[in-house]
C-alpha cells in the first residue's frame, strides 16, 4: 500500500509542478492548461469565499468532489494528493530517529486556525489563502522558490558560457536549451518579498525536522476542515483481536492519529496513509467500509473554540480600522491588475495564491506588503517600472481562481483603466532639456495613441531655436498600462509614471468628470 500511496503522491506532485511551470505565456492569448485546477478542488477556499464574497466561481464546485471523497475515505487528500503534504513527507524523510509517540495536544491548533478563518470570512474577511496549503505553496513557489531555482541554474550556465571552455560550453549550452524549453521560466523572474515569503515556506518545510509533517499535523487549516469532514466518513480503520499492542504502528503514523490506541484512534488526524496496516507484524490492522463511528471524541475545548471564534470576529475591525478604509484615502501605488474588482470586493475574494504574479508576462505583478493594508498582504499590484501591463495579454484574469480579477476578453481588456499616466515635466527630455525623445508615444499601445505631441519652439543654451515634440497624455484614452513608464529613457525615476487614479474599478479614485 505504501508504494501505491507514494505513486499517487508522486503523480499529483508532478502534475502540480507541471501545471505550475505551464502557468506561463507561450505567446498565445490563452494559456492552454488548467493552471489553477488544484485550487478549484480546494474546499477551504470554496467555503471561505462563499462566506466572504457571497459568490464563487463555477470551477470551485470541483471542490465538492474533494468533500465527497473525504466523506467517503476520510482525510485521504492529505495522505495521497496534497502536494505540500508530499513535500513535507520528502523533507520529513531526512529526520532520523523515532517520532515522539506521546500525545501532543498541539494538533488542535489547526482547528482553531480553521475556526478563525471561517468566522472571519463570515464577516467578509478573506484570510484563508494566507495559510491554505495549496495557495501557500503556489505563492511560495511563484514568488520565491522558482525564481531562486531559475537564478541558480542560469548563473551556472552563464558562467560556463562566459568562460567559453572548449567542448564543455557547447555541451552545457545544449543542456541549457533543453532546460529552457522544459523547466526554466522564459525570463528570470524577480519579486519583492521573495526572501520573506520564501523564509516562511522553508520554515514550514524545516518544521519537519522537529517533527515529521509538523505543518499537516498541527497547523494546516485545510487539513482541519477535511479532518472534521472525516468524522462522517464511512471508510474506517479497525484493529482485530490479534493486536499485541507492540506500538509499531505509532512509530510510522504520519498524522499523529494514535493508531496504537485501537479504539481511541483519531479519524480526524488520519491521512489514510496505510503505514500502520503495512507495518503491523500481526496483520491486525485493516481499513474498510463500516458505519461505526470512531471512538475518539474530538475535544477542542469549549473555551478555546470560543476564543478562536472571537478572534475571528475581532480580526475584522482590527484589520479594517485603518485610514485605507476611508474612501478618500487612496494609495496611489496600488495599481491592481486589469479586471480587478472594486477594492473591497477584491479583498473579499483574493486568496493571495500568486497565480497572477506567476503568469504575469512582464513580471510587473508583485506581492503587496502593506499597500492594501494588512488584510491585503501579498495580493497583487502592478509596479510598471518592474513590468508594465501588456496591452493584449489577459492571463492574470484567466488564472485567478476566485474571480478577484475578472476574466476579460481582448475588447474588454482594451477598455479597462488600471490607472493613468502623468508626465513629470521637470525630468522629461523634450520639456526640461530640449532634447527630442518620443519613446512614451512610440510604445503607447492604444489604437489611437493616448500620448500625443504638442510641438514647441525651444532654445538651446546658445540661443539656437528649434522645435521639439512634447508629449501630452490624453486622459480619456490612457489605460494606465505603464509601458511608457517602463520604457522611459529616464530610467531611475521615469519622467512619465502611472498611479492608480482613474482606475475603472473605483468610484472614488476618479479623475474625469464624465463617466467612462
Amino acid at each position: 500500500m505504501q508504494n501505491l500511496r507514494r505513486t499517487s503522491q508522486g503523480i499529483f506532485l508532478l502534475l502540480f509542478l507541471f501545471l505550475f511551470i505551464q502557468t506561463e505565456s507561450k505567446g498565445r492569448d490563452a494559456l492552454g492548461y488548467p493552471a489553477k485546477i488544484f485550487l478549484d478542488f480546494d474546499p477551504l477556499i470554496f467555503i471561505t469565499t462563499i462566506f466572504s464574497a457571497h459568490a464563487v466561481q463555477k470551477a470551485f464546485y470541483f471542490s465538492l468532489i474533494t468533500i465527497a471523497i473525504t466523506l467517503i475515505f476520510g482525510r485521504a487528500f492529505c495522505g495521497w494528493v496534497c502536494p505540500l503534504g508530499t513535500l513535507n513527507n520528502i523533507v520529513g524523510a531526512m529526520k532520523k530517529g523515532r517520532p515522539k509517540t506521546e500525545d501532543r495536544n498541539l494538533y488542535r491548533v489547526k482547528y482553531y486556525v480553521l475556526i478563525f478563518l471561517i468566522i472571519s470570512s463570515l464577516f467578509s474577511l478573506q484570510l484563508a489563502g494566507i495559510v491554505d496549503p495549496l495557495s501557500l505553496l503556489i505563492r511560495s513557489l511563484s514568488v520565491s522558490v522558482y525564481p531562486l531555482f531559475s537564478y541558480g541554474i542560469r548563473a551556472v550556465f552563464d558562467a560556463i558560457y562566459s568562460a567559453d571552455i572548449k567542448g564543455v560550453t557547447a555541451l552545457s549550452e545544449s543542456v541549457y536549451s533543453i532546460l529552457k524549453k522544459s523547466v526554466l521560466s522564459f525570463q528570470q523572474p524577480f519579486y519583492n518579498q521573495s526572501l520573506f515569503i520564501g523564509a516562511l515556506f522553508f520554515l514550514i518545510l524545516g518544521l519537519n525536522l522537529v517533527e515529521k509533517r509538523f505543518w499537516c499535523k498541527y497547523l494546516c487549516p485545510l487539513g482541519a476542515l477535511l479532518g472534521i469532514l472525516s468524522r462522517f466518513s464511512i471508510f474506517k480503520r479497525s484493529v482485530s483481536e490479534g493486536c499485541t499492542s507492540c506500538g509499531a504502528c505509532a512509530n510510522v503514523c504520519q498524522g499523529n492519529a494514535s493508531p496504537d490506541k485501537k479504539e481511541e484512534w483519531r479519524d480526524t488526524e488520519c491521512y489514510y496513509c496505510w503505514n500502520c496496516d503495512d507495518v503491523c507484524p500481526q496483520n491486525a490492522v485493516s481499513f474498510g467500509f463500516s458505519g461505526k463511528k470512531a471512538a475518539a471524541s474530538m475535544d477542542l475545548g469549549r473555551r478555546r473554540v470560543i476564543t478562536s471564534m472571537a478572534s475571528g470576529v475581532i480580526a475584522v475591525p482590527l484589520l479594517r480600522a485603518t485610514p485605507l478604509s476611508k474612501s478618500e484615502f487612496i494609495n496611489q501605488r496600488l495599481i491592481r491588475p486589469p479586471g480587478s474588482l472594486e477594492e473591497k470586493e477584491f479583498l473579499k475574494r483574493c486568496v493571495k495564491c500568486g497565480e497572477c504574479m506567476k503568469v504575469c508576462i512582464t513580471n510587473g505583478l508583485q506581492p503587496t506588503l502593506l499597500e492594501a493594508g494588512l488584510e491585503g498582504i501579498w495580493s497583487p499590484l502592478l509596479i510598471p517600472k518592474i513590468g508594465y501591463c501588456e496591452f493584449r495579454c489577459t492571463l492574470c484574469g484567466q488564472v485567478c481562481p476566485t474571480g478577484a480579477i475578472k476574466k476579460l476578453n481582448l475588447e474588454e481588456k482594451a477598455k479597462v483603466k488600471i490607472g493613468l499616466a502623468m508626465i513629470d515635466k521637470g525630468r522629461c527630455l523634450p520639456y526640461a532639456h530640449a532634447r527630442p525623445c518620443i519613446v512614451c508615444e512610440e510604445v503607447c499601445p492604444t489604437p489611437k495613441k493616448a500620448i500625443w505631441f504638442e510641438k514647441a519652439k525651444v532654445k538651446d543654451r546658445n540661443g539656437k531655436e528649434f522645435i521639439v515634440q512634447q508629449p501630452r497624455v490624453d486622459l480619456e484614452l490612457c489605460i494606465g498600462c505603464g509601458i511608457c513608464e517602463a520604457k522611459c529613457p529616464v530610467v531611475d525615476k521615469p519622467a512619465i509614471y502611472v498611479t492608480s487614479i482613474g482606475e475603472s474599478r473605483s468610484k472614488e479614485n476618479r479623475l474625469l468628470m464624465e463617466g467612462y
Binding site: G27, D158, S162, F391, R392, C437, V439, E442, P489
Partner: protein, 303 residues
C-alpha cells in the same frame, strides 16, 4: 559579413577575368548570373504576398544571386510588436516565409530569424504569425539571447560603439525585411530603422539623435538584400498601430540592395519623398546609397 564581401569580391573578380580572357563567353556567363541588365530596385504588385515577394526577388536577379549554397542566412523581419498581421505592426508573415523558402531553395544551410522586440517576445513572435510561418519551413527562429550582444565599434557620427547582436555578424548573408510604417520621430520606419532590432542595451536613448544613429547603424551593417513589405502599410499611430483604419492595403513589395534607395522609394508609398526623411537624406549625403530615385533603374512587375 566579411565573408560575404570576400565571396562577392572573388565572384566578381572571376567574372572579370573570365570576361577579359574569353570574350565570347561573356554574354552567357553574365545572363547565367542574372545580371543581364542592371536593376536597382524591383517593385512587385499583386494580391498574393508570397508571389509578389518572389517576383520582386526574381526581378532583382533571383535569390541565387544573393545566397550561395551552404550559407548561413539571417532574415531580419520587424516583429517588435504584439500585433496581428492585419494590424500592420510587423512584417507580413507570408512575405517572411517566402524569403525563407527562397533562401533554402538557393541552398542556404541555415536560415535564422530573430528580432529584439519591444513588447513581450513570446507574444510578438506568435501574434505576428511569423513564428508559425517560418518554423514550418525549417528556419531557426529563436528569441534574442542577451548574452549574444557584443559591444561593437560602429564608429559612427552619433553612435561610436554599441552592443549589437553577434549572430547577425557571424552570418554569411543578411536579408532585411522591414515593413513600411508611420513613426512620429523618424516620420517613416522602413529598412534603415529596422536595424534597431539588433541593438542591445538601452536603445531608447538613440531617439535623441535618431537620424544620425540610423545612418551609422545602417552603414555598419550593410545587408545583402533588402525587401520592404508594403502589403499593408501603417499610415498613423505607428510604429505599432492597432487601429485598422490606419492600415492601407497596397499589395506591394520592394526589393533592392541599396537600403537608402529602398527607403526613398518606400516614402513615395506614403505620398512623400525620400528627402522628407532625415536619415535618408543624411545617408545619401554620406554616400551610403542613392536617394534620388530618378537616377535608379526600377523594374515594375504586376502579378
Amino acid at each position: 559579413m566579411h565573408c560575404m564581401n570576400r565571396r562577392k569580391f572573388v565572384k566578381s573578380a572571376a567574372i572579370t577575368i573570365a570576361g577579359l580572357s574569353v570574350p565570347n563567353f561573356i554574354d552567357s556567363l553574365v545572363s547565367d548570373l542574372g545580371a543581364a541588365e542592371r536593376i536597382d530596385l524591383a517593385v512587385a504588385r499583386g494580391a498574393s504576398p508570397s508571389k509578389i515577394t518572389r517576383a520582386a526577388v526574381d526581378a532583382m536577379g533571383g535569390m541565387k544571386k544573393f545566397v550561395s549554397r551552404g550559407d548561413i542566412v539571417v532574415v531580419k523581419p520587424n516583429m517588435a510588436w504584439d500585433r496581428t498581421p492585419e494590424q500592420a505592426g510587423n512584417t507580413n508573415p507570408e512575405v517572411v516565409a517566402e524569403v525563407v523558402k527562397m533562401c533554402f531553395e538557393a541552398g542556404a544551410k541555415k536560415v535564422k530569424v530573430f528580432d529584439r522586440t519591444v513588447n513581450d517576445p513570446r507574444r510578438c513572435y506568435v501574434q505576428s504569425g511569423i513564428s508559425d510561418a517560418v518554423k514550418a519551413l525549417g528556419a531557426d527562429i529563436s528569441y534574442v539571447d542577451e548574452r549574444k550582444f557584443k559591444e561593437m565599434n560602429v564608429k559612427g557620427e552619433a553612435m561610436k560603439t554599441w552592443p549589437l547582436y553577434t549572430e547577425l555578424f557571424e552570418a554569411d548573408k543578411v536579408i532585411n525585411i522591414p515593413i513600411a510604417k508611420h513613426h512620429s520621430l523618424a516620420t517613416l520606419t522602413m529598412s534603415m530603422k529596422n536595424w534597431m532590432g539588433v541593438m542591445g542595451g538601452s536603445r531608447r536613448q538613440i531617439h535623441q539623435r535618431l537620424d544620425e544613429s540610423l545612418v551609422d547603424l545602417s552603414g555598419f551593417i550593410k545587408p545583402t538584400l533588402t525587401i520592404l513589405d508594403a502589403v499593408r502599410i501603417l499610415t498613423a499611430n505607428g510604429p505599432q498601430g492597432g487601429n485598422l483604419a490606419d492600415v492601407k492595403k497596397l499589395d506591394t513589395v520592394i526589393a533592392g540592395v541599396d537600403q537608402v534607395a529602398v527607403d526613398s522609394l518606400g516614402a513615395t508609398l506614403f505620398g512623400m519623398k525620400g528627402s522628407d526623411l532625415g536619415y535618408v537624406k543624411m545617408a545619401d549625403k554620406r554616400g551610403l546609397g542613392t536617394m534620388d530615385i530618378a537616377k535608379l533603374k526600377i523594374k515594375k512587375v504586376n502579378i
